[in-house]
Amino acid sequence: MSAETAVAPSRYIDALNEGMARAIEEDERVVLIGIDVGAGGGIFRVTKGLHERFGSERVIDAPISEMGYVGAAVGAAMTGLRPIVEIMFMDFVGVCMDPILNQAAKLRYMTAGALEIPIVFRMQTGAGKAAGAQHSQSLEAWFAHVPGLKVVMPATVADARDLLLASVRDPNPVVFVENRRLYGSKGDIDAEPLPLGKARVADAGSEVTVVTWGQMLRRCLEAAGEEGGPSLEVIDLRSLAPLDMETILASTRKTGRLLIVHEAVQDFGAGAEIAARVGDELFDELRTPVRRLGSPAVPMPFSPDLESALLPTSKAISAAARALVAEG
């Protein structure tokens, strides 16, 4: 696919932008809807230039009415369009959960497949910028718990573009979680895109399998690169639904140890599902207990000092990995 690009985007944010541009270009049914995604180019400039390029029929500015425009986007998806709808911060699903939870996720099923709902819910998260408790939450576990939704979390520049395109082309509702802390991150894109639903071994290793996603991938890779630390096999999960247990199990069988790292609150977070499944399926093969490393059960505080102390650091990740190796 990268062949198509003259100059591959170098930053995550540009890759998202190009992914949307391509989606809008390749399919006239694709529209982009959100608050200030149009003329304003997006509050984080993710949609910069798309309005000028495609016009207000395709790139649509909405009022501050998430319940209304997200619901309308679902209705549009039911009737022939393929909307990309932006929820500016993941925290704002508090005002527009119904169209995702009770409509998009269920209407195909309730109509025995007569309704198809190809829609992408773009939402942005990423703590670590002192945005406070109402602008810093990672709630991907909520969506993964809802049958009928796919949940995608790109962590690399390539995935920012390719998973977005795959999500738009998918005939199902996809919750697409961007991490604002990665917007400026750089990376290559000239690999063949992995399909949506497959995890990626980001760094091969032999002693501890580390499953992660979103902004924690970087920190896990840092930990993996640490001098004299244990050999970590870092897996970028890429999506929670579908959940690629195959890749997780294969690696954990090899290493005998599994550490799951995510930004979201650890308690009742997505890591628990992975830990529960691996603990069951590899009961006799695990050398050590499956460990999780997430944020403690605390609303994210404004203070940058307090905040950074709550997010898993590469230090904490390698410490956890070392502890596992020491245990057995």
Binding site: S65, G68, A72, A76, M78, T79, L81, N102, R108, M110
Partner: protein
């Protein structure tokens, strides 16, 4: 359906079908043949028939928990609907939707919905599609007067207004929301008056007069098709039965209920038909009998059908992704 047909006779026939359908559904629910929750629109048939009769076949309809009439009036098949209410595998939704979620997207019926207010944003979205794809289809959102107090109403109406969408917003004001007299839940109980705040046109119509509803709808739908934006219709009517089947309705004053029953929409229309000489009493009786027979046949069929195959439980959760380009 009846041998000689006129516009009003057709509307009468639709009402007769809804009346027959829901009268039996209420009984079947009482007798435990139909599971789940059932909400009937008995007494409100003129709204469904008047709107449905003025729509194009390919127009969209998004409705509520009280949607049987709207579905029938937009052409949904009696057999498939009844089988669905019986939770049969051959039901229109394979037994996975039921009364509160009955739908037939192939006919533009986007479905009943069990979330109050949800029909509005969905219909607004359908109107976006119609406009974007230049289809000239109108999207109708049915909702009750109680739903007007939901944020979804507020946001969706505003979207339809600023985007100038072909959305026909139909409020069935049947006075009550569950056990509550909706006049106690707003200082301005007139939904049409509230529409002014959104800068859209609205009109109140006698919801028990099918001809009046039909005339207004034809004009309003035309406006939508002409690109003149959304229109809100407030149809004043009354539900005869409880909020759900089984509700004994202690909250309704007898006199009020009685006075509304006197304005039975079928009688109102029937009287006009007789007066105009379009048909005689016998013909009208025949229409009602035919409707009853059609419903009875659907019931017999539904009774004879099997429950969904167990595999249905796991089907239709996700669609197959095309191979990535």
């Amino acid at each position: 359906m009846s041998n000689q047909s006129t516009p009003e006779i057709d509307l009468f026939a639709t009402m007769a079908l809804i009346r027959a359908f829901e009268t039996r559904v209420a009984e079947l629910y009482r007798d435990g043949e139909i599971p789940g929750f059932v909400h009937t629109s008995l007494g409100q048939e003129a709204v469904a028939a008047g709107i449905g009769g003025a729509l194009r076949e390919d127009d969209y309809v998004a409705t509520t928990h009280r949607g049987h009439g709207h579905c029938l009036a937009h052409g949904m098949e009696v057999d498939g609907m009844m089988a669905e209410l019986f939770a049969r595998g051959e039901g229109i939704c394979h037994g996975k939707g039921g009364s509160m979620h009955i739908a037939d997207p192939r006919r533009g019926v986007l479905g009943a919905n069990a979330i109050v207010g949800a029909s509005l944003p969905l219909a607004v979205g359908a109107a976006m599609s119609s406009k974007h794809l230049g289809q000239g289809r109108v999207a109708v959102a049915f909702f009750g007067e109680g739903a007007v107090n939901q944020g979804a109403f507020h946001e969706a109406v505003n979207l339809a207004a600023i985007w100038n969408l072909p959305a026909l917003l139909v409020c069935e004001n049947n006075v009550y929301a569950e056990f509550t007299d909706s006049r106690t839940m707003a200082r301005v109980p007139s939904v049409a008056e509230r529409a002014a705040g959104y800068g859209i046109e609205a009109e109140v119509v006698d919801g028990n007069d099918v001809a009046a509803v039909h005339t207004l709808t034809a004009e309003a739908a035309g406006r939508c098709r002409d690109g003149r934006g959304p229109f809100l219709i407030e149809a004043e009517t009354y539900r005869w039965h409880g909020h759900y089947e089984g509700d004994s309705q202690p909250y309704k004053p007898d006199a009020e209920a009685a006075s509304w029953r006197e304005r039975d929409p079928l009688e109102v229309s029937g009287a006009r038909i007789l007066a105009s000489g379009e048909a005689d009493g016998e013909a009208l009786e025949r229409i009602r009998d035919e409707a009853a027979a059609r419903v009875e046949a659907a019931i017999e069929r539904a009774r004879s059908l099997p429950a969904p195959d167990p595999s249905e439980a796991y089907a239709d959760i996700f669609g197959e992704a095309e191979v990535a380009a």
